[in-house]
Point group: C2
Chain length 217, copies 2
């Protein structure tokens, strides 16, 4: 593959993006672009490749209106083209590891027996994790959030990461526990409204020298 982008283009897109406060409710993301964003979610790297997640996409206005009061009334939830609810899988267990190993055998065309060593490592991690498996899964979901927002910026799609919502209300309204998931973070996606003054404000970042360090000093 030799079809990479120029460094300037990457940086220009990341500079262009901002946490969109007001989306244009009339503009919908075209299907081919949305498909690429879904692919970016599916392709997100995760620890051991375990993908302890599911991404729920909501376009329905009635459902989004129900979620609004549990989102600190932030209107991005109803005005953006698409609302993505990033959720973790609540039961990460050895059965789940087996399903992943089966998928690996299928995709890579290998015998499941040949994956025994990797499988044992996986199950060792799952049965004696160094941190709570829920928190481990949440961290992986944040990789997906980072990749999704970067991907969107490259495609000219606006986003707004949102931790400000009531997860248990979302879970209840969306019926996530019955499906084995729990909501963690939100990301509306769409197009900025021309009236959103936040778009033209200077991006606030600490100086490069504050957040990048070179070692040894």
């Amino acid at each position: 593959m030799d079809n990479f982008i120029a460094p300037e283009q990457l940086v220009a897109s990341l500079q262009w993006r901002y946490a969109t406060k007001k989306f244009d409710p009339s503009r919908k993301i075209p299907a081919p672009i949305w498909k690429a964003l879904e692919d970016s979610l599916v392709l997100t790297p995760s620890s051991f490749g375990l993908q302890p997640w599911k991404f729920f996409i909501i376009q329905d206005q009635d459902l989004r209106q129900q979620l609004l009061p549990h989102s600190w009334n932030q209107t991005q939830v109803v005005e953006a083209s698409h609302l993505v609810v990033f959720a973790i899988k609540t039961a990460i267990d050895t059965d789940y590891a087996d399903r992943y190993l089966e998928r690996m055998a299928e995709v890579q065309g290998v015998a499941i027996e040949d994956l025994a060593g990797f499988g044992n490592m996986l199950k060792g991690f799952i049965t004696k994790p160094p941190l709570s498996l829920d928190e481990w899964a949440v961290r992986q979901v944040y990789i997906a959030l980072g990749q999704f927002m970067a991907a969107a910026a490259l495609l000219g799609i606006d986003t707004c990461p949102m931790e400000g919502f009531i997860p248990h209300k979302y879970d209840e309204i969306l019926g996530l526990p019955a499906q084995g998931y729990r909501s963690v973070v939100l990301c509306p996606a769409g197009y900025r409204d021309p009236s959103d003054k936040h778009a033209s404000r200077a991006k606030v970042r600490f100086p490069q020298s504050t957040v990048i360090g070179y070692l040894p000093q």
Copy 2:
């Protein structure tokens, strides 16, 4: 801005990337590309924009050899062009919020008094956080990891996310606690070695229908 990329190009780059096991130690990332990757770290979105992090870059071979035994002997740590240690700031307090507000006033050219409402919200969050501030900061760092790996893939740079290392040994060797930081996750970056068989293996992801859900059903 109208210089966005095509959906196919995004997906091709994300398909091209993989968790690189063997880097070509002779190939270094050129300065303009590396600068764009540093920019992608600096520009990472975070909750409230607080940037509770620092990214330590290590190119020195002696230092990396010291880290190798504390990295499950994964050779990416010494063979990649650059090693990035993603760290959280350990003291997130109201002083830190004040430094951020000062930076915001400086960058946006507003009076600090005009940021009082936002400042109160920030300090309210910091003094009564809904989860441990350390874990909150770790989650933000994972956004940076996701954005960094996506950015690298778009630029044709290989990466390998690594949770498999001994953070307290890294912290000790790199002197991070004295600087107010704690290591969380690693990401070597560089160029895949032609002999890395992992590059040609099929990427293992659950089917789209397993990890993407549409609501209401």
